[in-house]
Point group: C2
Chain length 161, copies 2
């Protein structure tokens, strides 16, 4: 693969992450205010933390996808990269379920699907590029934590979520 | 709303259903062969049944969305119509999870999310247009059945799904 194509590919995967964060962001415009109004557990992070964490995770996702893609394009890793696109779509939808539509229970069920899809993506990446698979582990860890937080918020904010 | 705009809207919602069935269809190109090779329960329908059922359900979804939309466009029923778009996206993804990636367990978790999203859409439609809400009940019933079938196939086809 030419150097130019590799750079364009990296830009492409970064843009995919930006697109997902924009779609998710549009669904969670009210998040900074809404989050603070919730009945939060003691271990809930401050609202400002989510932005930097997600920016980091989206960057890692883009780099990981690029590493897998670079080894021979879509044809060579179709399943792994399609799984990644699927998990990105489910990721963006979550923000809408939780922050736009206040469907706390549906969002929790959906985060389980997201978790399973990330795990399947990691497993598929592993066969192509071990570093790429490892780059997604912080994401899986964060989604585990986010799932616990989602469940807690859903159970402790009846009538709101 | 003008007659012309109403007709264009109906065409638009029908095209959205076609798009979803095409995306789902691309993920399940191997379904006619794959399904017959599975270890099926006695109550599994013949493979030919799925096509007509889904065509009918997608048509009902389009008509229902159109009835809600027609009452004042997106602005008037933003939440209900966005929920409908979300359930359409989750619907298309299911075919990929099950038939393209053989992720029987993830597909089952995802069908629970789909079921919840359809229920939320019906609830949201109900406030705008009772007939539209009722038009989605066959869809909810079928997805209930499809979920049971998905679970059964996942449990009874280890190593395949």
């Amino acid at each position: 693969m030419s150097f130019k194509k590799q750079i364009l590919g990296l830009i492409g995967w970064l843009l995919a992450s930006v697109l997902v964060s924009v779609i998710g962001g549009l669904g969670s415009l009210n998040a900074p205010v809404f989050y603070r109004e919730l009945n939060l557990p003691s271990w809930a992070p401050d609202a400002w933390l989510f932005g930097p964490v997600w920016t980091s995770l989206y960057t890692l996702m883009a780099i990981a996808a690029w590493l897998v893609w670079r080894q021979g394009g879509w044809e060579n890793a179709k399943r792994a990269l399609n799984l990644n696109v699927a998990q990105l779509a489910v990721n963006a939808l979550w923000s809408w379920l939780f922050f736009a539509w206040y469907l706390g229970g549906v969002a929790f069920a959906e985060i389980i699907v997201l978790w399973l899809l990330i795990a399947a993506t990691i497993q598929a990446y592993w066969k192509h590029h071990k570093v790429a698979a490892i780059l997604l582990l912080p994401y899986l860890a964060w989604v585990t934590f986010a799932g616990a937080l989602n469940l807690n918020l859903w159970l402790n904010n009846p009538g709101v979520l």
